[in-house]
């Protein structure tokens, strides 16, 4: 790094051959001294302490170490098989698969309101443009087949609704006062 641009010369003597200009040019070519906190500016005691620390630092033995090959990142696998965890995961996967199969192969509503809903849905899609697969609308038909939500109970602090196997409990503290 060199000096920044020359400062303005106020006496107007910065022409060619001017000793001041030459001196300035020479000064500009010099590297900027590093702005370090110079130890020489510190007191004797501080210098002695830092020198002692530096000498001790340079002389400290380094434990021997054998070179090691850089490791290429490998996919992380468990080092030991965690059997309880694996068992729980396998059981959960089986349960999930079983439930999925049950849902997919369960009895479809074949009569009554649900059946008519399914039929109606199938008919409406098969007559539409593109004639997509009729089974794509089956979930909405199944939703139609479910019973209507019912109000099961109203107490001082809660209201209970029921829709099929699902219960919805609304808890509030305002009923008693209202």
């Amino acid at each position: 790094m060199t000096r920044p641009d020359a400062p303005t010369l106020h006496d107007g003597t910065s022409g060619d051959g001017d000793p001041l200009a030459e001196l300035l040019a020479a000064w500009q070519e010099q590297p900027i001294p590093e702005a370090t906190p110079d130890l020489d500016d510190c007191d004797d005691e501080t210098r002695a302490v830092v020198d002692w620390m530096a000498a001790a630092w340079a002389a400290q033995p380094v434990p021997a170490a054998a070179p090691q090959r850089p490791t290429r990142r490998l996919p992380r696998w468990p080092r030991r098989a965690d059997w309880p965890l694996l068992t729980r995961r396998a059981a959960a996967a089986l349960l999930l698969a079983g439930l999925t199969l049950t849902l997919l192969s369960g009895p479809r509503p074949s009569s009554g309101r649900a059946g008519s809903g399914l039929t109606a849905a199938t008919q409406s899609t098969s007559t539409g443009a593109g004639a997509q697969d009729a089974t794509a609308t089956a979930p909405s038909a199944l939703i139609d087949a479910r019973p209507e939500p019912q109000l099961v109970a109203v107490t001082n602090d809660q209201i209970v609704f029921r829709s099929g196997p699902v219960r919805l409990v609304l808890i509030t503290d305002h009923l008693a006062s209202e």
Partner: protein, 194 residues
């Protein structure tokens, strides 16, 4: 002021060969760099035992990352940055235990060995270094190790620490003052240490 042994053999050719995975180059690079990395780890962590493990891990990190090293950047600054970040991670992981250790009052002999470079006193000197460095805050220690112990320029130390040069100067002033208070009375002024 004594300066630590430097290694001038780590050049761009060697680094490129190490990045390519050439075993002989890796061996040369490792033997040249490990002492520096160990000293840095010892200084940043202020713990000799922990520094051995940290230096091994830092060497592996350096070797892994050499392929992404930009030759346009000074190698010592890059290396010191990687080592410093690794040591900061180590410090974070063991912060609780270390805080408890540093809270304990430091025990120092009434007189420091006059010749710290004497191998006969190596164990004692190392222990004294450890105790003295633990009395500095991590930031003070980092600045002091890079600037005063490793002799790196202030500009480079500031770059490695991720702070301005004026901050490095402030940290150095604090570190030196603290060390003078700790060790000044125990040092024979005008002895061979100077």
């Amino acid at each position: 002021m004594s300066s630590p042994p430097t290694n001038d053999i780590v050049g761009p050719h060697l680094l490129a060969a190490v990045a390519r995975g050439e075993p002989e180059s890796l061996d040369r690079w490792y033997r040249s760099e490990h002492p520096v990395v160990y000293r840095l780890c010892f200084g940043f962590l202020a713990d000799g035992t922990e520094a051995e493990d940290a230096a091994q891990d830092a060497m592996l990190k350096l070797a892994d990352r050499l392929a992404s090293y930009d030759p346009g950047r000074p190698y010592p600054a890059w290396r010191n940055t990687v080592v410093l970040n690794h040591c900061r991670d180590v410090l974070r992981r063991g912060a609780t235990r270390r805080n408890a250790e540093q809270a304990a009052p430091v025990q120092l002999p009434t007189r420091l060995p006059a010749r710290p470079e004497d191998e006969a006193n190596a164990g004692e000197i190392r222990e004294l270094l450890h105790r003295a460095l633990t009395q500095l805050s991590p930031r003070e220690r980092e600045a002091f190790v890079l600037r005063d112990l490793e002799g790196r320029p202030t500009r480079e130390a500031a770059e490695v620490l991720g702070v301005g040069e004026s901050t490095v100067r402030s940290l150095l002033t604090l570190a030196r003052r603290r060390l003078r208070q700790l060790l000044g009375d125990r040092l024979a002024l005008g002895g061979s240490a100077r």
